[in-house]
Structures are given as C-alpha cells and as structure tokens.
Symmetry: C2
C-alpha cells in the first residue's frame, strides 16, 4: 500500500507547551489513540494532560518506536532548543514524526543523527512516491467519506467519531487519514493536499484499497466542494474514494467560507446535491447518511431545536459529534447497507 | 507574474527525428509561433519541415535566446548523444527548454555547463515556486476556457486557433498555457497538472491575472470534469480561471474515456451543465459559446451533417477547428460580449 506508515507505540513530544489547545496534534493523539501513546516528553517544563512523562531512556525501555512531534513552534520550524531531545531519541533508535512546515529532512543535525542510527525522519507533509493516476475501477469493501460546507469544520473529528462508533456497533471499520494530523493519529495515510495535481484521485484510491465486503473505510475529507481555493483537492478525493455513503460536516453559525469573505457558505442541500452528482460517476449508489454539525456557539435548547429541525428537513440523522457522538449516523448506515 | 518565462527567439532541437508527428512540440512551435522559430538543429540527419537548419554559432549570431527541445526520446530522457549540442548551446549563452520526463536539472553535465555560462535550464514540467492558494477574487478582463469531454481531445489546438481568430477579428487576446507543450508555444505558463493539489486554483489565477476590460485570456484546458483520473485538475483550473465563456472540445467518434474503458464518454450536454454549475461559484455569468469537434474520422458529407445537427441541437456554433477554423465561435463571443 502506497501510504506513509508510522511505527507504534509513540512518545509524544510537546516542546515547552503546557496548553492543550496549542499542542493539538499531541492532544488529538492522546484523545483518539490513548493505547498507542505510551508517554510524553517536554522541555523547559512543557507537558499536557493524558500521558505519563518519560525520559527518552524510559520510553526506549517501554518499547516506543516513534517520537511524534505533537506541537507547533512559532514560524512552523524545528527550533534549535528541540534538537538535543530529538537527537537523543534518534540515537535510541526511534523514528521522528512531524507535520511541521520546515521538513525534518531539511535539518542537517537531524539528518546526520538519523543516518547514524538508521532511524527514519518522517515528514507527514511529504506524500509517498510513485502514486499512480486514478483508475476509477470499482474496489471491494465499502467507504464513507466526510465532506464539508467549508474547511476546518470538523471533518477529521467526525470521521474519528464515526470510526469509534462503528466499532462499538460491531462494524468492521478503519479511519483513513488524508491530512497530516489524521495521519499521525491513524499511523498511516496520505496527505492528499500535498499530492501533485494529476495524482489526487490516484492517491485517494491508494488510501482506501480493496477490502472485505463487510469493511468500512471512514475517509477523512479535505477542503470543500464549493471552496474557491481547495475544491480541486475535494474533487479528486471524492472521485478517488468512490464512496458508498457520505456525511456533510457543517457549522451552525458560520455564514461565509472562512477566510474567503466574498463567498457565502453553500447550503447543506447544495453540498449534498453536488457531491451526489459527482460521486455517481464512480459509484452510482452514493448517498448522504447524516449531518455532523458544530453547535458549540448555540445554547442548549436552541441547539436541540436546530438539530431536530435539520433532521426533519433532510430526513437524516443530525448530530453534534462532540456532544452527541455519531451513533445515529452509524445506525443509518446499518439500515441503509444491511449485511 | 508567477509563471514560467521562456526568452524568444528559439532554435528548435529535433534530435535525429525526421517525422513531424514524432517531433510534435517542435512542429507545434513552427505551426503556431513561426515568427519566434529562427531555425532548427538536428543530429545525425534529423530535421523537420518549416524552419531553416542552423549551427549553434549561426543561431547565436541570429540572436537566438533559447534552444527548445522539440522532440521526445524513447524513455523520456536526455540521451547522451544530445549532450554535445546542448552543451554548445549553453556555452553560447542560450537557455535550454524541455518538457522531457527526466529533468534537465537532474543531468550533471548540463547543470555544470549552465552554471559555467550563466544560462538557464528550464524544465517546463516544474511549476514556479510560491504559488499561492486561490482567492476566488474577481479579476478584471475576460476569460474563455477550453473544457473537454475527455483528455487529448483538442483543447490546446482549439485555444490556439481561437486566439489566432480573435486577433484576426480585432480582439485583444492571449493564449494562456496550462500544459508543457502549450508553455513552449506561448513562451510562458504554468503546468497546472504538476502543481501541488492545494494550489491548483491559485496557479490558475496566476495564469490569467488582471487585465484591461477588453482583453481575453484564452485558457488551455486540462483533463476533463468527468475524468476518473484528472477531474481534480480540471476542477481547480475551472474555479481559478473564473471563465466568462467556455468551449467544449469533443471527438465525433470517441465513445469512452480514452484509456479508462469502463467509463463512457460524458455527453456534451453533461459537460456544459456541470461546468456551468461549478463555474457559477466564481462567475455567475459563465456560458458556453461553442463546441470544437475533431471530425477527422468522418467523411465529408457526414461531417457537415454532424456539425450542423450538433449546432441545431445546442444552439451554438460547432466547428472542427483544424478544418473550419474557429471564427464562428469568435463571432459568438463578440455577439455575447459586446464591447
């Protein structure tokens, strides 16, 4: 399979960060894959909730295979103050994994240390080589794709929540990561937005390969099909994923495409229509199975009415995945796709 | 402007090729930009029609600024047998321009020779750096985009023919190249299919920047909006180009997407509908102004009936650009967009 592969278990590196909201990747890993996060390591007093502090030596003894950089430095680089710890991890035989803007593989000290120990520097922003052009050929197994009325609207969270609830409901499911943070959480994936344009749908095909008939790939979405900057990525991911089902992710109070103030947010119906039309090219039976909404800006009663009205309007389960979970959507999937 | 820029005039390098159909890029340059093609140079008896043979020294004296590789070698590389001539051109101060699969900039002898003389090695498959994300902001001037029912269906040829006929009709027009051969012909452009996915529409915006109100960018299309492999590229180019008008390119006898035999060719109407729907996001007034059809497989009378039936069906000018030219489409543009 042509994807990035990260070896578990992990030691989470949080730098000098103490606020979970600034160490998002680390916090996401601890939230979604606690069983893979053996410990955390900080510098200058850094640390977040959810995993025991360890030295590199202790992590090595605990069997850690990868140190994952779970925070971002100002400027998106690898600050010199991180290097002693990272070199120590490489010397202990651990891979280092990062999604920072400046590549690990462009840092001379890290490259030299990795070469010496035989460890890998895994930049999850760099797609695997030899991604083919998409074939459109029907694959076995089933796929559910997250799409959104915008970027940064809960597609990754929704996919992870649906994977978790599908497993809880006894379904055979795997989260398929198409973005950097998702790849760190899943331990594998392809950063679709970093792939060369001709190979977007081919990369999406690699991301959800043939599988058993009862298996669901829960595919993290990217961009937005109406997005003025990123719709090409969304198009290629949709066509390559050939989804059987999709979920629309939305924000209850957002009115415009975030950062593109000239563009009103498309309606949920617009997104359902266009995704269905395009998706039919590669999967004639594609259908929407639910709507995930970020309702954090609504009060309790308003929130409940908003979701029930939406559900009545679309005839679909509508949930806030953070508050409600996604089990109603999983039930919809089970009823629409009986074994 | 963030595009590749090639300095004219050109010396066309044809290797040992003597058949125009195997030196397509060179032949295309001589067809569409004869005024820029000062001469040609071959090796081992190579040569095609349309430009005088010259030595490097003669070309230098004639003011040539770029040697353009106008043929492809088996395997897509730069054969050793080409290198003496290419080094001589670099030493004479010419840039070398190529769209071959193996990059000029990966060839040690050429890199060394270019460094010595200060000449450039221009790989037109490599997009410029620092392409931004698309903004979707409305630009001044007007744009006409070629779209297709498939790849390799005459989009580049149609765009070049429309540029030529627009100029003949007194319009202010420029061909905008989005592919390798087009870039060599235009002397500038961006290879949209080689851009990283997040930046496709941003690259398209760079390709057709703000212009005077009377100006038309005639934008070369890529891929196909229904294509299982390349629709992501087509989507990004469409959204970034924000076209006022578009032309559908089609082949009269093609029944399936070429190389993707499971996929029937979409109808012209399907393509018009989808391109219009998507294009409206960035240009509410987008409309189809004509259809260009490759009718080379039809007989004379069949051909005429085919095009007149098509024209009646769609209410649009329908031409074979190679046989008929594209003046009826230019007339349609003039009537739809009066000055």
């Amino acid at each position: 399979m042509i994807t990035i592969e990260i070896k578990p278990p992990y030691l989470i590196f949080v730098g000098d960060e103490t606020d979970t909201s600034y160490a998002k990747t680390g916090a996401g890993l601890i939230e979604w894959r606690p069983e893979l996060c053996v410990g955390q390591i900080g510098i200058n007093g850094g640390g977040i909730d959810g995993a025991p502090h360890m030295t590199i030596q202790e992590a090595k003894e605990a069997g850690v295979k990868s140190l994952v950089i779970g925070t971002a430095a100002i400027g998106g680089g690898v600050p010199d103050v991180w290097l002693d710890t990272l070199e120590e991890a490489l010397a202990a035989g651990m891979d280092i994994v990062a999604g920072v803007h400046q590549l690990l593989n462009d840092n001379e000290r890290l490259v030299a240390a990795a070469k010496k120990s035989g460890s890998r520097l895994i930049d999850v922003r760099v797609p695997p080589k030899d991604i083919p052009v998409g074939t459109g050929k029907k694959r076995s197994g089933k796929r559910i794709l997250m799409v959104g009325t915008d970027c940064a609207i809960g597609k990754k969270y929704s996919a992870l929540a649906i994977e978790k609830d599908m497993k809880k409901a006894g379904l055979n499911a795997d989260f398929r990561a198409s973005g950097q943070t998702g790849i760190m959480i899943a331990g594998r994936g392809i950063p679709i937005d970093c792939v060369v344009a001709d190979f977007i749908s081919g990369a999406a095909e690699m991301l959800s390969p043939d599988n058993t008939d009862d298996h669901w790939d829960v595919v993290e979405g990217q961009g937005g099909i109406y997005h003025p900057g990123y719709s090409g990525v969304t198009m290629g991911l949709l066509v390559g994923s050939q989804p059987d089902a999709f979920v629309v992710c939305h924000d209850a109070v957002r009115t415009h495409i975030s950062g593109w103030d000239d563009f009103p947010l498309p309606s949920i119906q617009d997104v359902i229509n266009r995704v269905t039309e395009i998706g039919k090219q590669v999967n004639p039976d594609i259908r929407c199975v639910g709507i995930c909404v970020n309702t954090s800006q609504l009060g309790g009663e308003t929130r409940e009415k908003y979701l029930s009205d939406l559900s009545a309007e679309y005839g679909l389960p509508c949930v806030d995945p953070i508050i409600d979970g996604t089990m109603p959507i999983v039930e919809q999937v089970k009823s629409e796709f009986p074994e």
